[in-house]
């Protein structure tokens, strides 16, 4: 925990979890997430790793307000997510969280530009500005020439870039990614890794990434290791060393 006191990170925690538990009842209580407490500061690049089925994605879902904990609390940007309705949680996600998934999860009927612009439209951004900003973000992820393509017309890496651009659309407090490179080849993985690192380094974007990818661990400030739903290690990543 030494690094948390590092003056380089002298910023307030943007994301806090206190005693998080997620229990599934499958005849007996199965703890997908067990008594997890953590703090993530603004500008941190945090990687959550662990073996398959250890609860990484569940923890990420809890932190993003995509799922509700059985007990415990998540506080994002000073706002507790406990007790919020589904619509209120949607508003929080819209304004403060950008999500990137392993399977990209782009809307298949929308072009790359429309996918990126949609969160902006939902936030009430004027159409003209939303379009321009979405185009800027696509340019930022290196896809300016593919903005009119549907997801099915894009490669996996391109789809993931669109997903990242969409996640960034509303300038989120935290960018969360669930196995963002798992479905990609090594070259594309390198590109996505570079993109995430660049976003964190250049823009100060807080990133929480669930991954098995060791190269991403190298870029992280912190690495949280999860086993059976518990954080068993909280260590500095490659970027902090």
């Amino acid at each position: 925990m030494e690094h948390l006191l590092d003056p380089d990170f002298g910023r307030e925690p943007i994301l806090r979890a206190r005693s998080l538990n997620k229990v599934y009842w499958l005849g007996t209580a199965v703890y997908a997430v067990s008594n997890v407490s953590l703090e993530i500061r603004q500008g941190e690049f945090v990687v959550i790793r662990g073996p398959s089925g250890c609860g990484k994605s569940t923890l990420l879902s809890l932190l993003a307000g995509l799922d509700r904990p059985t007990s415990g609390e998540v506080v994002l940007d000073g706002q507790s997510l406990s007790g919020l309705s589904e619509n209120e949680l949607s508003a929080v996600r819209r304004q403060k969280i950008g999500m990137v998934y392993q399977s990209f999860n782009l809307l298949p009927n929308l072009t790359a530009l429309e996918n990126v612009a949609l969160p902006l439209h939902l936030s009430g951004t004027p159409a003209g500005f939303a379009g321009r900003h979405a185009a800027y973000l696509l340019d930022r992820v290196g896809l300016s020439g593919r903005s009119r393509h549907l997801p099915t017309q894009l490669s996996g890496g391109e789809q993931q870039r669109v997903a990242i651009a969409r996640a960034l659309a509303n300038d989120p407090k935290v960018l969360m990614a669930d196995e963002p490179t798992a479905n990609l080849d090594s070259a594309t993985t390198r590109d996505i890794r570079a993109l995430l690192t660049e976003l964190n380094r250049d823009l100060g974007q807080t990133c929480v990434v669930v991954t098995h990818d060791h190269s991403l661990i190298e870029d992280a400030h912190r690495v949280l290791s999860l086993v059976d739903g518990r954080i068993v290690a909280d260590e500095p990543g490659g970027a902090a060393r």
């Binding site: 879902s61 995509l66 009927n109 929308l110 939902l122 549907l150």
Partner: protein
């Protein structure tokens, strides 16, 4: 606008899914429209030939014809008796329920009517007033007829002339719709139909389906003038009449168009029973006195045929034979005024109770016939109220009321037993409802599947911050857009398919447009309601679960 745009984009860009949805909705709309318009068209045309001939859509009989279960249950044990109608009682019952005149029927009435179904003029007027008070009833026409004891009609043919006996016929007051100058408010399908021109004596036409075997096919069911001329209100002042060609000519003569009937005013002397006026002091109504008959002269100016259903059978696989059936009702029709004069000549004072065998009730809207009939039953509980269409259905199921000549007995459907049915069957309504319900299920199933198969998509929308009602709006735009396209397509196709039926109803453009408008409103409401409700219900359930659950469940 973003949400509406997104809904439309979803519908437009996902062509495969949208096409399936449109086809499902079109199918549902087609089935619904079919169940409505075909039923309505058929209702307007249903038994039109019988209704035209009888002068109304609903018949009111003096006794139980279709006793309801409550009628039967209300009978005090021992009070119902088996009685037989006398031959002198002229009523449509003789066509639809001939067994009432032979085997008899069960009734709680004191006795069988022999002159009129009413005891007095006041009774007739009271019942008419009660029926006319119903908003759907446009007219009540008494079926007025009296029996002919004797008389003959001369016919000439290649083999010379001969006389056909008119004994057993009835003299009947023609319903106004069968006059050539029928009132304007009479719908087209109840008027005289044009006779087919240049009909050969026997039609035997080979078609790909086999041989059409028909005896003088008319193709348009209804009453048509086959010889001479029709009656008109100009005949009120003279005793002119028309006869049923099928009732006076033999089967061979009917086929032979060289047989002349001398219908340019052949005078026929008829013997009819004397009518003894009722005695109010003794409480008796008029009755026939057959021991002192009266003779009247009428001038026969034309003959009519009542072309009814087309009967078909399959003597061999893939070969269908058709036979045009005719109602061989032995009725000599006169104008109402001329009939009144005959009654007076028979001894009935003006204003006295005429011989009434039934009441023919005309309705405003055919599609409500069954419901209105139920209501009329409640208004006149002592009488039997039956739609002509129901009567026709029941009679047809017993191979009645027309004589079948061509179809060998082995190929005729097994007839229903001759009995009073306990409950009026209305199977068509049930099947119409069934079809409508099935169509609703198709629409509902389509909507439900459309939602359930998209949990991940909704989860993505929620993950990027779309709220539940916003997702709902997007989906509703898509569902309603596709439903409307499917609805318009399905309705149009079904309506085009129904056109032959609707047009042959000859109910007039205004009525057709009104029916189409009403059908569209019903089909649109039903399909859209099914589509929206069965999209909303699964969607609200889907949106209640968390994003993580939705994504997990879909994987």
């Amino acid at each position: 606008m973003t949400l509406i745009h997104l809904g439309i984009v979803n519908a437009v860009r996902n062509l495969g899914r949208s096409l399936l949805s449109v086809v499902a909705m079109a199918l549902a709309a087609m089935m619904m429209t079919g169940s409505l318009t075909v039923a309505e068209g058929y209702t307007a045309r249903r038994a039109a030939e019988y209704r035209s001939f009888l002068g109304g859509d609903v018949l009111v009989y003096p006794t139980w014809v279709w006793p309801t279960r409550s009628d039967v249950e209300s009978v005090v044990p021992g009070t119902a008796r088996l009685v037989t109608l006398p031959r002198s009682f002229a009523s449509p019952l003789r066509y639809f329920h001939p067994d009432f005149y032979s085997s008899g029927y069960l009734t709680v009435a004191a006795g069988a009517p022999s002159y009129s179904m009413f005891g007095s003029r006041a009774d007739l007027d009271e019942v008419r007033e009660v029926l006319l008070a119903h908003p759907e009833v446009t007219g009540v026409e008494p079926y007025r007829a009296l029996p002919v004891i004797g008389g003959s009609l001369e016919i000439t043919g290649p083999d010379g002339s001969s006389h056909v006996s008119l004994g057993g016929h009835v003299l009947r007051s023609s319903p106004p719709n069968l006059l050539s100058d029928a009132p304007e408010d009479v719908p087209g399908y109840l008027r005289l139909v044009p006779a087919a021109a240049d009909i050969p004596a026997t039609v035997m036409t080979s078609t790909t389906a086999g041989t059409i075997l028909s005896d003088v096919m008319n193709w348009t069911p209804g009453v048509f003038v086959s010889r001479g001329r029709a009656l008109s209100s100009a005949d009120d002042d003279r005793p002119v009449a028309v006869v049923n060609r099928r009732a006076v000519l033999s089967r061979a003569q009917v086929r032979d168009y060289d047989v002349a009937m001398g219908l340019q005013g052949q005078t026929v002397r008829l013997t009819i029973p004397r009518i003894v006026p009722g005695d109010p002091e003794r409480g008796t109504g008029p009755y026939y006195d057959f021991s002192r008959p009266v003779t009247v002269d009428i001038s026969v100016v034309g003959a009519y045929d009542v072309a009814s259903r087309l009967f078909s059978w399959n003597p061999f696989p893939d070969v269908t034979y058709y036979e045009q059936l005719y109602l061989e009702a032995p009725e000599i029709l006169l104008t109402p005024a001329a009939f009144d004069r005959i009654l007076q000549a028979a001894g009935l004072p003006a204003g006295e109770l005429p011989p009434v065998g039934a009441l023919a009730v005309s309705l405003r809207d055919q599609s409500k016939a069954v419901a209105v009939t139920e209501e009329l039953r409640g208004l006149v509980p002592s009488l039997s109220v039956v739609t002509v269409a129901q009567e026709a259905d029941f009679a047809n199921a017993r191979n009645l009321p027309e004589t079948i000549y061509e179809c060998p007995p082995d190929f005729r459907p097994r007839p229903l037993p001759l009995s009073q049915p306990a409950v009026p069957p209305e199977a068509r309504q049930f099947f119409g409802l069934l079809l409508f319900g099935f169509a609703g299920l198709v629409a509902a199933g389509n909507s439900t599947l459309m939602i359930l198969s998209r949990r991940t998509e909704f989860a993505i929308l929620k993950a990027i911050g779309m709220r539940g009602f916003e997702i709902g709006l997007v989906v509703m735009v898509e569902v309603v857009t596709l439903a409307v396209i499917g609805l318009v397509l399905g309705f149009s196709v079904a309506e085009v398919g129904s056109l032959p039926i609707i047009l042959t109803n000859r109910i007039g453009p205004a009525a057709v447009l009104k029916a189409i408008g009403r059908d569209f409103a019903i089909v649109a409401s039903a399909t859209l309601a099914c589509a929206v409700v069965f999209a909303l219900v699964p969607m609200s359930r889907t949106l209640r679960i968390t994003v993580a659950e939705a994504m997990r469940g879909d994987e």
